[in-house]
């Protein structure tokens, strides 16, 4: 039974409520929201790579304009916020329940021996997820909230006024503290995905001799490449500002 039961019962969906609150249903929610967030990361990265275009931020600002004005993207973005919260809250609840299931007395000798190489990661998904959530709060406050509250200057691209999100991003990545925070968080996301990617498929029952090795391989590739792509951007910007290298980023208008 959940808080949804009173709504689901009159329309004959009480079975669905039983499913959502079962141990397997709870994991299916984690799996599906997780897969959605995995897909989103790729889209987000492709947008971020616009920062590396040597055009004084024009393509990045055009991209953020598109993301905030396209009705389809806007709808998906609200779904995204919902799924992030659902994934986090459900994750914390599972974490608490699992801790409770162990009972009051833990083991004096604690060892995790696992079949896969990711047993240690799997056992720490709650901690990793919590760090990622704290990062997301900072990240949303730093860019999303500032943009939404109009705390950015406007630039004219063509005939249209665009919010200049490029300047605050470059400013943040010129700050060593933020560079460290972002690179560290990407490392945590990589570790989280290392387990999460293939685990999502296992939870949905998609384990098959023919496909599981491929899913595992893709999961590892994805969990390394995508966070690496994200982490490279603050590093490149910081190095450019410090004058360590010139990677053809034009950081001024």
């Amino acid at each position: 039974m959940s808080w949804l039961s009173p709504a689901l019962k009159p329309i004959g969906l009480i079975w669905f409520d039983h499913f959502l609150t079962s141990s397997l249903g709870k994991k299916v929610i984690m799996s599906l929201t997780g897969l959605f967030l995995i897909l989103f990361l790729m889209v987000h990265l492709m947008g971020n790579l616009q920062l590396l275009n040597a055009d004084g931020g024009e393509s990045f600002n055009k991209y953020t304009y598109f993301m905030t004005h396209n009705p389809l993207i806007k709808t998906v973005s609200y779904l995204l916020y919902l799924f992030i919260l659902l994934h986090a809250i459900q994750g914390w609840r599972l974490w608490a329940q699992n801790h409770h299931a162990r009972g009051g007395q833990g083991y004096a000798v604690q060892v995790v021996r696992a079949v896969g190489t990711n047993g240690r990661v799997a056992a720490r998904m709650g901690w990793l997820g919590t760090i990622i959530f704290v990062f997301l709060v900072l990240h949303m406050w730093q860019f999303w909230f500032q943009m939404k509250t109009g705390n950015v200057t406007m630039v004219l691209i063509g005939e249209v006024e665009h919010k200049d999100l490029y300047t605050p991003v470059v400013a943040a990545f010129s700050n060593l503290f933020y560079v460290i925070v972002y690179v560290f968080s990407m490392w945590i996301i990589a570790v989280h995905l290392w387990h999460g990617f293939q685990s999502a498929f296992q939870t949905l029952g998609l384990n098959h001799k023919k496909y599981t090795p491929l899913i595992r391989f893709l999961g590892k590739l994805y969990s390394v490449l995508v966070p690496l792509g994200f982490a490279l951007i603050p590093l490149l910007v910081y190095g450019q500002v410090q004058g360590w290298w010139s990677v053809n980023l034009s950081l001024t208008h």
Partner: protein
């Protein structure tokens, strides 16, 4: 060989437990782990002390009674072995061996190393059976079974229901046990009759018993004395999803 044993002693379910250290001087490397515990108990009895309570039955690694965590591993550090089949030659002279009961809220300690695993019995009662027609025994091989299917069912049926998966899982989840039972029956034609109901009721009972949720750590498979694969968990997830959306059950 000489051993220092650090054993969890607890008078009863609602009593407070603690670790007690024992010194054992004459341990033969040919002894099984349980025989070594007998030597300790003889020593304790001769000193007028309460012997250590532990469970055992077949000593062939097929009954699943001997439940204990040895140096952090369910059934001890040797993989694919129950505690009764573990021999003292796998330990070093002078080693400290920590022996604890299985830890899970659904497996309350009854005394010392003995835990109450009747939660597993109730899960089996909920759906771990098949309907058979009584009367004349039918011809052997009257029901054709595909070889690969029967092998997979047999691998799952190797589960002895000892609870090592629950003990090893950081979440105290019983998914490996339940999925082995679901797989074993559902892979065979005889088990198809109640297949949909079975997975739903066994999972419901598992949740009622208060076991944790699976997070695919796979510690269960690594610690399972019978090497039951987590592929069974994926099969149960599939069976469950299909049954939830297609059966008439609430």
């Amino acid at each position: 060989m000489k051993l220092t044993l650090k054993i969890w002693r607890q008078g009863g379910e609602y009593k407070k437990g603690q670790f007690v250290n024992y010194q054992l001087d004459q341990v033969s490397e040919h002894m099984s782990f349980l025989e070594m515990l007998y030597v300790l108990n003889e020593q304790l009895i001769s000193q007028g002390k309460e012997p250590v309570a532990f469970e055992h039955d077949c000593r062939e690694g097929i009954c699943g009674a001997c439940s204990m965590v040895i140096n952090g591993h369910a059934h001890g550090p040797l993989q694919g072995t129950t505690a009764c089949q573990l021999h003292m030659r796998f330990f070093r002279d002078g080693q400290t061996v920590t022996i604890e009961p299985f830890r899970a809220k659904s497996f309350p300690v009854i005394k010392d190393l003995v835990v109450d695993r009747s939660a597993f019995d109730r899960i089996i009662q909920a759906g771990g059976y098949v309907s058979v027609g009584t009367g004349q025994a039918q011809d052997a091989n009257a029901i054709p079974v595909e070889k690969d299917q029967s092998s997979m069912a047999f691998d799952a049926a190797a589960c002895i229901g000892c609870g090592a998966c629950v003990a090893a899982c950081p979440n105290a989840s019983a998914m490996l046990f339940v999925s082995a039972k679901v797989s074993h029956l559902t892979l065979l034609p005889q088990g198809k009759v109640e297949a949909k109901k079975r997975v739903l009721s066994m999972v419901r009972q598992m949740d009622l018993e208060g076991f944790g949720n699976c997070s695919n750590v796979t510690a269960c498979e690594a610690e399972c004395p019978k090497g039951i694969s987590v592929e069974n968990i994926a099969r149960m997830n599939r069976e469950y999803l299909a049954s939830v959306f297609s059966s008439e059950e609430d």
